[in-house]
Amino acid sequence: MMHILILGIVPVMYLGAFLIIVTGMTVKKDFLTKIGTKAAAVGFLLHTAGLVMRWVESYQIGAGHAPTTNLYESLVVFIWCLVLYDLLFGYIRGGKLLHFIILPAAALGLFFASLSGSIDRGIQPLLPELQNNWLPLHVICCLLGYAGFATAAAFACLFLVKKREDDFSILSALPGTNELISLITRSMAAGYIFFSAGIAVGAVAAHFSWGAYWNWDPKQTWALVTWLIYSAALHLYTDTRRGRTALAYLTIAGFAAAVFTYVGVESLPSLHHYF
């Protein structure tokens, strides 16, 4: 169970990276910010290693499946996707903005996954209906989609705050509203591509597993709701103030639907009763 230990260290790394970056920004020491970003990257590598080890271990104990089959595994993979977006956006756009939101959220999420008494962290053999080669791809695509939407929602919140309080000293450090809109659109588009792929691959998996690619199952239904909201958001023109504000609100509404799709529909009778 080495992976449990490693995945227990990862949130400490993310939290430490966040604190170093905040300190660097506060005392305006660029080298501290760089160290923090590198610490986050090391944490991400450990995170990846932990997931790979869990995958290997599942084969060693005879269960033999990708780490995408229960709530613990999906949370750990989701947070991995989230940090991947954070690091990619930081690398491509050269911004540290997302670290402020993603890193503490990732640390909290992993602490919850690692310490919560209500989450089973064991590796279990797969139920017959889950032995579907399309399923890991479906889960990973959906989680990459959720992570993209979460990133877009974070940028949308910052946009709404920035739009109202442009002169507020801390917020003046944030990128301008134009840059934020561009970041919302890009992260949302990335999430949309993966989420669409997740729905499509899920339909293929359902076709083989349930004998129907669509069942109006609550999880499928809410995935469609989420997809429709983001489809609407992608059709908005952002050349007007109203259009930009609408985009920000739709992005946040879409993320709320995504959260409900991910964890909320558990309260409804569903064929997705695994997690």
Binding site: V204, G211, A232
Partner: protein
Amino acid sequence: MKITKAGQRLVSIATSPTAAVALFILLALAIVAGSIIPQGEMTESLVGSLSPRVMDALDTFQLFDVYHSFWFILLVTLLVLAVIACIATRIGHPPILPGGRRCPPVPQDSPALSTTIPGRSACRTADELAEIVEVHYHTASRGDTAQGTIIFGRRGPLRLISLLIIHASVLIVIVGMAMGFLLGFSAYVEIPEGDSTDTVYLREDPWKKTLPFTVTCREFSVIQYPNGTPRTYLSRLVFSGKDGDAREKTVAVNHPVSYGKIRFYQSNHGTIPEARITVTEGEHAHVFTVREGSMLQLPGTEPGQEVHILAIESNLMNLGPAIDVGIEMPDEQMRFYVFQDIEKIKESLPSVITETPRLNPGRFEPFLFQLHGIEKRFYTGLKLDYDPGLFLVLAGGLFFLIGVAMAPFSAFERIWIVLRDADSACRISVISLRGGNPAPVAPIVERYLTQREGTRT
């Protein structure tokens, strides 16, 4: 085909982003309603918790069957029409080749960069700018209008293709789903090991369907992990066609099989009790193997006198295994239990048989029923699916993914440069759009203008 002004207005509305946003939001709200309000058979759970007036109101708006309601179908139809309009308008505006004849109208609402180049004629400047646009844009055109000389450039045709693919794929998916809904069917059947059937059960009227072939469950088995938990379920099936063709196929969870364009899925499994009984009439004894729901026509009985096996119980009233038998006669109905341990019951409760006719296995005279034993047999539960639109849905889904994956890598940029002479200078307006949104003017055009311009607004 000439389109009237009203038609153009209608197409313009249907293809507008506002209409798309409105349709998506309305569909999302409809689906939310469908997921929150119990649908179909589940509606019964609301009876008692909601007043009849509210129930009537919900029923009137077909909120208990959202996905088949007229307004949901109307929304989907509007979406289909909007998608068709989007495709038609895109196909109706083919890429304009360099030096092409047509120039799209200048967008009126988009912000324009305005500048002047003193001492230059619009014609000369237009020549130079047209050359730049032709080199740096995939398609370019030039035209003289009342507004002045217009140079139009477009690059990123891949974007246009990706949007076309996305919209067409949505249409293909909806058509495929409609074909499956209208022409396909989904059915269920449970076949005990060793049994055959050609009758399957639907979830709606007419409830039953006869297949053009017979399915036999030769064997059902459960494969287990070393710790005993089930790993998979397998059914060895034999499909026998009317032409004498017989094929054996093994269906497992996640591994459906096809026969006669119908796919068979391993859906569920279980055991059903079977009872071996003897019915004695004088010196004649008849042996039967019966299940719950079996119907027997006993020899010598008149038509209309039927024996129904109503239930098979492993321990009825703590008196051991028994079957519940119902006798249907034209003018009378009779019901009694047949216990396997009837002799023991008689010993412990000698008068119970005479005092309680329901416990008398010889109640249906002159027949005497005896139960020899109850056994459990595995049955396989199969789901059947015939969906002629499946291929279209899969193809549409694949095209959609190709389209959305192409889109981010294929930015679609358009530029309109409007030039006219004004007070011995050339007055220029530049509108640059990326997708549908205003975008910075391409650096090559920007550089040309900054080197020559006078005043910019």
